[in-house]
């Protein structure tokens, strides 16, 4: 069993040779703690600073977020142990999105140029990083769709996603997980007001779908919650890529009359 959450996750994309695994593990340096409510960048990143760093969350609970001029914060995704941050944000287009620790985190820095070099050298690493990218896009799409659901189903969907993602890295039980964030964090994730979240949580509690106390979420009947949330984990891409043979060969198209 691989202990490193980064490798645990990347191995979902397909096999990595021993050499590739060692190369990936040699990428991380400067492992450091980040306090809750602090950004995980080390100062050089924001305001257009050019950086060679990619950040890897090793433990804890972080989020990618953006704050509007009126002070509203929207959390657009979570960054869990094993997740890379700012991987594609070397250019100015990613600078408005910040990454903050919701709970205390341990973060490792990676050299972007070294990572790029490894992608060029190792097909397994190339495939794994490509998978990470596609997966992020797939999840972002699902979050947009999830916004169209009523708030109680939206929250249920989020909890189902977290359950699966944390199980993959061995940080959730069959029926629950530690969820060290505030209700306001969840409201900012779902795009509902800090008042409304109280009602949504009570609705799921009284429906017997979840309990959440002392930072622990418990789901008495996971299948029932998944059904309520209309949750299909396929978008999380944990089954890797389709085997090559499953991709249909191009079919010659005959010209029309």
């Amino acid at each position: 069993m691989v202990e490193d959450p980064f490798l645990q996750k990347l191995l979902r994309a397909g096999p990595l040779s021993d050499e590739e695994q060692a190369a990936l593990q040699s990428l991380t340096f400067n492992r450091r703690p980040v306090s809750a409510r602090c950004d995980i960048t080390n100062g050089a990143l924001i305001n257009g600073g050019v950086t060679d760093r990619v950040y890897l969350v090793m433990s804890g609970f972080a989020c990618r977020y953006k704050t509007l001029p009126n002070g509203n914060r929207r959390i657009v995704s979570f960054a869990l142990p094993g997740d890379l941050c700012y991987m594609h944000d070397a250019g100015p287009f990613g600078r408005d999105l910040r990454v903050g620790a919701l709970a205390a985190c341990s973060v490792a820095d990676l050299s972007r140029s070294r990572l790029t070099e490894l992608i060029g050298l190792h097909p397994g690493i190339s495939r794994a990083i490509w998978w990470v990218t596609l997966r992020e896009l797939s999840r972002a799409r699902e979050w947009i769709v999830n916004d169209t659901r009523p708030a109680d189903r939206r929250l249920a969907h989020l909890l189902c996603e977290l359950l699966i993602c944390l199980q993959v890295i061995g940080q959730a039980d069959d029926d629950g997980f530690e969820f060290p964030v505030t209700q306001a964090d969840v409201a900012d994730t779902l795009g509902i007001s800090h008042v409304h979240i109280n009602r949504v949580l009570q609705s799921l509690r009284t429906g017997g779908l979840i309990t959440w106390s002392h930072h622990q979420v418990t789901i008495p009947d996971v299948e029932e919650l998944k059904a309520f949330a209309e949750f299909d984990p396929a978008y999380l891409c944990f089954d890797g890529f389709e085997p090559l043979g499953a991709i249909a060969a191009p079919v010659a198209v005959r010209a029309g009359p």
């Binding site: 009126n70 509203n72 409201a187 007001s193 008042v195 109280n198 009602r199």
Partner: protein, 89 residues
């Protein structure tokens, strides 16, 4: 000067947050206020406040929890929104 009137109403939120007010500006519904119940909001220290549950036109609030300590404060806010955001006639 726009005339703001408040009409008590019960809101079916399926929670203890049921005490509400319809807010009319010159006879037009512009907001629905709800009084935050002790049962749900005492832990946040917000119980007893009035929150904009829904707003229309000038009173639309998006996902912001716009809250007031009193109905008078809410009334002033509505009047202010209407006067600053109303389209020129």
């Amino acid at each position: 000067m726009v005339e703001i009137t408040l009409q008590p109403v019960q809101i079916g939120t399926l929670t203890a947050d049921t005490d509400g007010r319809l807010v009319f500006a010159d006879g037009k519904l512009v907001a629905v206020l709800v009084r935050l119940s002790e049962e749900l909001h005492s832990a946040d220290g917000n119980a007893g406040q009035w929150c904009v549950e829904a707003g229309f036109g000038a009173c639309e609030v998006g996902m912001l929890a716009v809250r007031f300590d009193s109905l008078e404060a809410a009334r002033s806010w509505v009047a202010d929104q209407i006067s600053t955001k109303a389209p020129a006639m």
